[in-house]
Symmetry: C2
Subunit: 244 residues, 2 copies
Amino acid sequence: MRWGRVEFEGSDYFGTIAGEELLVHEGDMFAAGRATGRRIALSSAKWLIPCRPSKMIALWNNFHASAAKNGWAIPAEPLYFCKTPNSFSAHEAEVRAPAHYDGRVVYEGELGVVIGANQSIFGYCCVNDMTALDLIGKDPAFPQWVRAKSFDGFGAFGPVIAQGLDPMSLTVTTLVNERERQNYPISDAIFTPAQLVSLISREITLEPGDVIACGTSLGVLPMRPGSIVDVAIAGIGSLRTHYR
Amino acid sequence: MRWGRVEFEGSDYFGTIAGEELLVHEGDMFAAGRATGRRIALSSAKWLIPCRPSKMIALWNNFHASAAKNGWAIPAEPLYFCKTPNSFSAHEAEVRAPAHYDGRVVYEGELGVVIGANQSIFGYCCVNDMTALDLIGKDPAFPQWVRAKSFDGFGAFGPVIAQGLDPMSLTVTTLVNERERQNYPISDAIFTPAQLVSLISREITLEPGDVIACGTSLGVLPMRPGSIVDVAIAGIGSLRTHYR
């Protein structure tokens, strides 16, 4: 089952995806909702973020391959920052950095874990954890993770939330202008999705719709204005961002 | 004008404070709302957080006195992390750290700037930016600001949002079990509230109800279970947290 949200003729709808249509539901997505019988052609609708997270928690240094390449120690606990809600953007969104920022902006293709009722895992999405890379270390006294990660639109996720997947079997690929730049298995994660939910929720209550971005691995590179970035995970779909 | 939110007989209400009563309003607080004529005695209601921020941005190293004492350089730009919404707690809330965390938890009394329409300043509140201090530097590779600041309840703000104040004339005092531990003027800030809103909103859109916690100054100390912490700012009121 894959859940999505769209805007159509000025209103928002959510529901399940069947082929090229949204089967509109009403009620609460995280309590499954109820099908209304209405169908909307995806080709005539605009994609929205598939849910409205109260928070997006995003991991640093969560893959063995990137830890090894960068010489980072394997962390004893999940290490994370957050991306604020103004950063959320949907499939096919156009995203640009503020005019005064002239540093590098990188994509980071990631698996997103979407929380359901009772701090369970509801499903999975693709995440493009865009980052104003030169801000993080700009001030030597204080690494600016939240700022560098939270520019408007820098937290793309979607296109849908997919259920019924084994996350450990998934592979994240990122394509820039259709050229593959990232391709890594979730099985290389230091903390699995289930471990992340378990460890984080001991301290920070996770609400339905919250997203944990599981961190990225090798192949992160700067985007240039005009780049089209696709984060694709088989079983979920492909999340496209137009970087302007 | 001071705005508050309360729970009374199972429902939530917002409105202006007049003496010991809430003058109930309907509509949008940030568009002033409309008085309904109903009054609720504050003594019979439970305080809620005065608005529902989509994000709380909190400053590090924003007062000259604490920078001087700690040997921190004066930052060229605002340095901030964020506190996730699960951390928000109201006046008179009971807050406790997770059982497995046995490190220090400190209070930080702060001025909170509440955003209104069009990224303007709507008003001001008190903030107790509670912090699991021993987490920040626990992993030498990654300072854990968001985690240390975002335990459930660790972001107290309120009791109300006050309008019509000159923030540069305000003084923040923090009392622990009625003993004064912090007393510092906002005029000592490195970045004023107006500068914070201006600089942050260039990159990160601020929504009505969002809170910028302006950072703390000298006098931060650990709390012990049983501590009662009051963050008081004349013209706003006193925000009480019961630390368990």
